[in-house]
Symmetry: C4
């Protein structure tokens, strides 16, 4: 039963909660941080930490995907980004980082008007493969049919289909839409798909055979989905809803476990930790990785929605550089602001609440406690 309130006589709406609205509370048992496990497994792929690097040009290059893999996480390259449009995107990345706010969007619209080159998709994926880490690349639903054979031939271990509101049932009068279920059935590799932000949308995506569902519709710090088109799915509610779909789908499918991967809105380690307490199996990080010394964005951060030619729905934001990728993941932290040592934070929260695995930690008690800086 959902919690409905009457907005007006003609309309009801459900009360929803953001990660800022909730907090983890310890109970009667505690544990040593060293005794907890943060490992995560998707199909045959096991990761030391449940962290996925977001397919955003400011975050993932072939190099940072490799670095992330070597640190025990999974990096996903945006196969519609600068790395597959330009032989050498470095000068453009440098330029974007220095654009002033007023003109950044317009210039990005120009830069991203360059066509995607299939041979660059192949080259970038090979580069990651050659480094010996798990290879993952992302396409939007509308480009998937055009490029997926290129991607498969180049070789990926995990395929990601990611848009701002992806459904299992896309209707079009102009073209034959992607039949997700058939597509996934035909593929040999596990597919992560989203964003979805409701029980129903997620359940339908799970039924397509996806290995994981990305939770969120443009929920990151640089997104302006709510201002521009009025859409917003507060993340705490979305995670819990999709986790409920995972449970019900497991029942319905006779045991298939679909991973719930939070995508967006976890800018500080506290929000990252809360995601698991609400039901996440893994978290896709954008802003936190954009703050790494190695980040291709060089202090700038933006998503695919920020480069739309006619209706950009995200900012080219600025972020502070806080430390190496390794420090962001594993510390040590020298600032108490939630920007470094994400894994250490998760370990400590699990220890303080007495849980030994991420799966168990999903049962953790949370309270609704709107954030007040003064009383934090």
């Amino acid at each position: 039963m959902t919690q409905e309130t009457q907005i007006g006589l003609g309309k009801s709406g459900r009360l929803t909660y953001s990660l800022d609205d909730v907090a983890i509370v310890p109970s009667r048992r505690t544990r040593d941080p060293e005794d907890v496990s943060t490992s995560w497994t998707v199909d045959a792929y096991e990761f030391q930490v449940p962290i996925v690097g977001a397919p955003m040009d400011s975050v993932m290059s072939p190099q940072t995907a490799i670095a992330l893999g070597k640190l025990g996480a999974l990096g996903v390259l945006d196969l519609e980004g600068l790395w597959t449009r330009y032989d050498n995107p470095e000068p453009l990345l440098a330029e974007i980082a220095t654009l002033d706010e007023a003109t950044a969007t317009r210039r990005m619209q120009e830069i991203y008007s360059e066509p995607i080159k299939p041979e660059l998709i192949t080259a970038r994926l090979h580069e990651i493969r050659d480094a010996g880490v798990t290879v993952a690349g992302a396409l939007t639903p509308s480009r998937t049919q055009e490029f997926y054979t290129t991607v498969l031939e180049a070789g990926v271990d995990i395929f990601v289909i990611r848009g701002d509101a992806v459904s299992a049932e896309h209707v079009s009068t102009n073209h034959e839409p992607l039949n997700l279920k058939q597509f996934i059935y035909d593929l040999d590799v596990p597919v992560l798909v989203g964003g979805a932000a409701s029980y129903r949308a997620a359940l339908h995506l799970m039924r397509t055979g996806a290995a994981g569902v990305l939770v969120g519709i443009g929920g990151g710090a640089a997104s302006r989905m709510r201002t521009t088109i009025g859409m917003h799915a507060p993340m705490a509610t979305a995670i819990a809803d999709v986790a409920a779909a995972r449970r019900d789908y497991m029942e319905e499918s006779g045991g298939r476990y679909v991973h719930v991967i939070v995508d967006g809105g976890t800018g500080v380690s506290g929000d990252f930790v809360k995601s698991f307490a609400l039901g996440a199996d893994a978290v896709m990080l954008g802003t936190p990785l954009a703050r790494a010394t190695e980040a291709p964005g060089k202090g700038a951060h933006w998503g695919a929605e920020a480069r739309h030619p006619r209706l950009p729905r995200g900012l080219r934001a600025k972020v502070a550089t806080v430390g190496s990728l390794e420090e962001v993941l594993y510390g040590p932290s020298h600032t108490p602001d939630g920007t470094t040592n994400f894994v250490g934070a998760l370990r400590r929260a699990m220890a303080s609440t007495g849980y030994v695995s991420v799966k168990e930690f999903q049962q953790c008690n949370v309270v609704v406690a709107p954030y007040q800086l003064v009383n934090m």
Copy 2:
């Protein structure tokens, strides 16, 4: 059943919601933005987009009414504004735009003390008529009797009666008040009337025979109704309530459909989009059009309530100029701030939620999700 809370032992009040409090959530179906229709029809008049230009001097001149008509929308001229008080209001518009905040109200009170000239009403309406677009003009209830024959003789396609709280039952000891029902019955043209902000007030206005009801009582960004006289009708609740009155009146009248036109509070495209999801048929835009290059306000923005001689209840505000009228309506947008491409935003939201017409989109799921910038 409305949602009442006890304010104190002697008083209960209903919980109400603003557009900022709600958000649209996608569900399991999506669609191509090109496949949706945004057309809107009032009586014999069909418009490409459900957008009405507000009768405010900072927004509507004969020229912008014409421009808006050519762009597929409807412009409404304020027939008690500068264009019907002065032969050439351009110098005064230019002066108002440069007044400092402290003295703007006082100077506007002087400027608007000039009497309204019937012959200018005629001339302005003819100018719009001659351009071949739909002609619409607005009067306040208290001036309607004085000027409506002038207006009708000059010729309007759509007549607008607009005040800050208009009721179907106005009581006066000094003069015979306007009998709205008789007045509308006698007219040949469709009448849009408001503002109304509750089910009951709207239902009574619908019973007068109005073609549309304007929703809102001074809800725009430049209004100070709440600070000055304590009145406020949060817009999400008001829209849903008036939409419920439309449904019930359609039942009661045996099928007459009265249009619900949101008036105020939709400063960014996200709020514009939400209005439809809550039940609107069309939206009257003020601030967004005041941001157009062609806007007569030249970067300033004010409503009729700002010029009251003894109790001004609105600001002469400043707005940023962001692009042409066409860009505000149709884009392309080069900033992700909700100030341009209102129609594109509506199309995308409809597509992301799977609806093909504005009427269907009124059924869209919304959630209550108080706005938090950091988590947007």
Copy 3:
């Protein structure tokens, strides 16, 4: 039945609302502002407007009490303030207005350590009497026994007993406390007493025979009761509660009507207007009158709680000077910020909701609509 929420397992608390949380909504009837009456009567004293000048040195001098009386309102002189401590307080008032924030409290503690002179009480009250207006003076409960004979002999029409939490049952081991019931019974003049902020406290004060109850415990803009001692009674709830006590006491007493006078928290005309819609018979104004050209505070504003020798609980605040006393009360207003034309605002709100008297306006519909500047 009050609306309780569980704070924790050991404690429940009632949900309360401030004036900022509520708003007035119009319904289906409207009226001309000229047709409403704002008169107010206490015992034999009739006032043109339901406004009482607060007994604060920054607001009330003998001169402003006279001016307010001539404008149709009631001014109450603080009989423990500077005017009864010093022959000529003008230089001290001027000094206080120029003190910097860091040292203002300490200097005020010194200034107010000067003893109260009975002969000055007499002289000040005579001065007001001689001007032909209604004479009212205020003492705190703890000083009432010491000075009331002086006050009565000097002659007052209305006696005010005002402290930050006044009860009908004060317990003391050191001295015989004031027996309010006996005291009021013995007096010949009507007594206004408070602050009270709950149904029960107000009902007990009503039973003492008071003609009016002041609602509020340090709720003004310059108060720091909540920061310093944790006490706060949100005003919308407090007014509605005390209005309920008025109703029940009228029943219990066989028809005695005790006036509900809001004291504090109505800094702008919108809040002043809302007070009546929640049940007030009159409103005691502090900040709004401190903004008048004639205000003795000369741009500074403070209450009695700000000068406590060991535990000051209020600020010496700064306010903008906005116009004459007459403009604050009756306009015309040249700024849409709620600082002038309080009576015009009340008239318009009453007209927009269709009520003809303040007593009827107490039945006005209000909604709970937390204030959001952007959507005002």
Copy 4:
């Protein structure tokens, strides 16, 4: 019964409240401030005021522990702080006070890497003992086994075990964890233990035989627990919960009264006062004492969580110096900002609500009234 809300389909959470969310309301009886008692007794130790100085290096030195004891309160020395790591920590304290924000944490991590010296524990406790005041020292759970014999041999009257989330059941695979129940049973001195923030955690700590439970998990102004690891226990709810555990444990144990000591989040006297109204027996003060002229932090303030070598979870904050320790406790106050005269504030609130002892004041009425500066 707790108040649950549905966060999402897969998760519910309880609504919780901070001290900022609540306020004290007076009722129908009042009293003289001189007639109330603020005394507090733990075992054989009686204190004039229910105030405990927090074991934080910015607050407690041997000298301030002595000063606090002489003022009628209890000072607790951090036995893992600078005073037991360095012969002369004064230069380091001075250095920390002047560090800029960006580098403060890193430098503190270095400074605190110096090992704890048992002989300094002994010396510091002897110094306090020799001054004739009650002696109290704090260790974290993980260091208690290593150092407690040193502490007991040096002699303490009250032993404090304090960490950010302490449970009665700590699980470890690497070492034999502290058996709190056995440990407390074997000790001769009363033990205060925490932080705990829920009914269940507190009840289990009470069952270990503790004389008092510290309420709070990093709730102070300088804590960043919520940002870094997502944990937060809003204080109003936590206090009321632990007070309920006290009541139930007293029943279960046949009359053993365990003290509820609020630890963190009471930066101004208003919050300090509210703590008692919600059920506290005493309050451990950090920030307020860091504002004293004598504070070793010299204007800086930090807790143990701020110096963690890999995951710091608190700030080295800056606080204003406002007066002597005596003025912070007893006034007189010359600023109405809640930074001085904490005891006077408690007395006045008790008097205004008619209670004579802190134990009775725990029954005081509170309301839920989210803080709004403008209406304070």
